[in-house]
């Protein structure tokens, strides 16, 4: 090994060590600062429990909306070539680069009582700000690109001849989508959904602006952490943070397992036998 090579690998090692330390230390610190018994106590506190429920409910609803609307849109953008497709893809990615506070203000300006659609909504007796619907909208807005990006990429990288074959063999468009495209893109879709869910769980800025913060209704876990911190209750803020870390990490691990399992039982021969069974 040449001296310069050795220097390079030492430097790489140091870089990696610094990086892992930087990511892991704050997470470890949360758990080291809160004794496990306190953590369990906090789980029984009304604030933490309410925030957990609001978080789980609102993120799941947001995720369903993202997947139901995002999947066909991503399919269109990933499989068809048409003018403006690039622009549309960029629009879907916009929330990714917008600061969440901008998202919150934008939602107010559009769906607030005096927003662009405020009059129309009021005519139907609907007021969105400060409701759980507002939480879901803020989460969906901010988390959407995390799913759509992955989904577009997954659909674009499919073997398009399989789609063509499916159509040639007489499967309709819907059947091709559900029986061929979805199974083929499955892993990318799972990964995207996991990322979007994780992002939604951590959402703060857009939510607090557009939905406010009310325990049991609009106060999600990150909002509860902020509120506890505001009051100087560092211990409780840390405990709720630990809860959020556990939930998010559990989610990440769960999806990893799911994706790995998915890749195991979809060998290529199986895939083709599936698509040929379409005509049966």
């Amino acid at each position: 090994m040449r001296a310069s090579d050795r220097t390079a690998s030492v430097a790489t090692g140091i870089a990696a060590a610094v990086l892992f330390g930087f990511v892991l230390l704050p997470i470890l610190a949360i758990f080291l600062r809160v004794p496990p018994s306190t953590l369990v106590d906090q789980l029984h506190s009304r604030v933490a429990l309410d925030a957990l429920l609001v978080s789980l409910r609102s993120t799941l609803i947001a995720l369903v909306i993202i997947v139901v609307l995002g999947t066909p849109t991503a399919y269109l953008l990933g499989t068809r070539r048409f003018r403006g497709a690039g622009v549309l893809t960029t629009v879907l990615e916009l929330p990714l680069v917008l600061p969440p506070a901008v998202a919150g203000i934008g939602l107010f300006a559009a769906f607030g009582r005096f927003g662009l659609l405020g009059g129309v909504l009021r005519a139907f007796g609907v007021q969105i700000p400060f409701t759980e619907a507002a939480v879901v909208m803020a989460l969906a807005f901010v988390a959407l690109p995390f799913y759509s990006r992955q989904a577009v990429a997954a659909f674009a990288s499919m073997d398009h001849e399989l789609l063509a074959a499916s159509r040639t063999l007489g499967a309709g468009q819907a059947r091709t989508f559900f029986r061929v495209a979805l199974p083929l893109a499955r892993q990318g879709l799972y990964a995207g959904a996991a990322l979007a869910w994780a992002r939604a769980l951590g959402e703060f800025g857009a939510t607090i602006l557009f939905a406010g913060s009310l325990q049991g209704r609009t106060q999600t876990l990150p909002l509860a952490i902020y509120d506890q911190f505001l009051g100087g209750n560092i211990d409780r803020a840390l405990a709720v943070s630990a809860l959020l870390v556990v939930v998010s990490a559990g989610l990440l691990v769960g999806v990893r397992v799911l994706v790995r399992k998915g890749s195991g039982d979809w060998p290529s021969w199986h895939r083709s036998s599936r698509s040929s069974s379409l005509i049966g």
Partner: protein, 260 residues
């Protein structure tokens, strides 16, 4: 290798640039309650005019949050809160000097100038459907609001505060965000400090509270014990009690310090 060296040199330079100590003069960091956002920088300007070489940087936030920052050892020179509760906490922990009470404040109910819910009196809050925003219990404006509502029970009957709190759609992190939501008309009513209502001007209508229901809002100020510029920090604290500073506070709607 040389590149790596010059890169690390660059990093060191960057860190030096980020650290506090400027080559010339003193920089004082003031941690102050959000409700002081409009007036304290003005007082600061007067102070720096008299003290050449001193620059002030302000960090505004919830008083509890500021207290927590001081407890965690955040670099700060002066603490100016909106509640003596946290002043007492910090002082008894020896983290700040014994504090001076430098001004007082009162609460008021504000509604948007368009007044969509038709709230014209305090009693309307418990009888008309309205979206009410208040401060979170974690911030002083929230605890004061709850104290005021308790006091109003004596006037309007025991169910009043419960009825009003039942109409709360958001517990906000500061009086500033309460008034923003009322100003924009997204919320129908909110309890803020009179100083916030004054700063908002004609965008809100104020409904005053009877004096017997008012909360006692006292603002403590003190130098932080861990300050590296303790002398200047104490000078700033004293300056806030002088006539020119008190005049600015009065113009902003704050009351005089309590008579001891």
């Amino acid at each position: 290798m040389r590149k790596a060296l010059s890169f690390s040199f660059f990093i060191v330079l960057l860190m030096a640039a980020c650290s506090e100590s400027s080559a010339s003069g003193t920089r004082l960091t003031v941690l102050a309650a959000s409700s002081l956002k409009n007036v304290l920088p003005e007082i600061g300007t007067l102070f720096t005019e008299e003290h050449a070489g001193v620059t002030l940087s302000f960090s505004f936030g919830g008083t509890g949050q500021l207290a927590a920052q001081i407890q965690q050892g955040a670099p700060a020179d002066v603490f100016a809160g909106a509640s003596t509760k946290y002043g007492d906490q910090l002082a008894s922990a020896g983290l700040i000097d014994p504090y001076e009470s430098f001004c007082t404040n009162r609460l008021v109910l504000v509604v948007p100038s368009s007044n969509p819910a038709g709230i014209t009196a305090l009693l309307d809050l418990s009888t008309k459907p309205a979206k009410v925003v208040v401060g979170s219990e974690s911030v002083p404006i929230g605890t004061y609001t709850r104290a005021v509502l308790e006091n109003l029970n004596g006037l309007f009957g025991p169910g009043y505060s419960e009825a009003v709190l039942g109409r709360v759609v958001s517990n906000e992190d500061s009086a500033t965000s309460i008034i923003t939501k009322v100003e924009s008309g997204e919320a129908d009513a909110g309890f803020v400090y009179v100083t916030d209502a004054l700063a908002a001007g004609p965008k809100v209508q104020s409904i005053p509270l009877p004096s017997e229901a008012q909360a006692v809002v006292i603002y403590p100020i003190a130098a932080v014990r861990a300050s590296k510029n303790a002398t200047k920090a104490r000078q700033l604290v004293e300056f806030v009690l002088t006539a020119p500073a008190q005049q600015l506070l009065e113009q902003a709607g704050f009351g005089p310090p309590p008579v001891p």
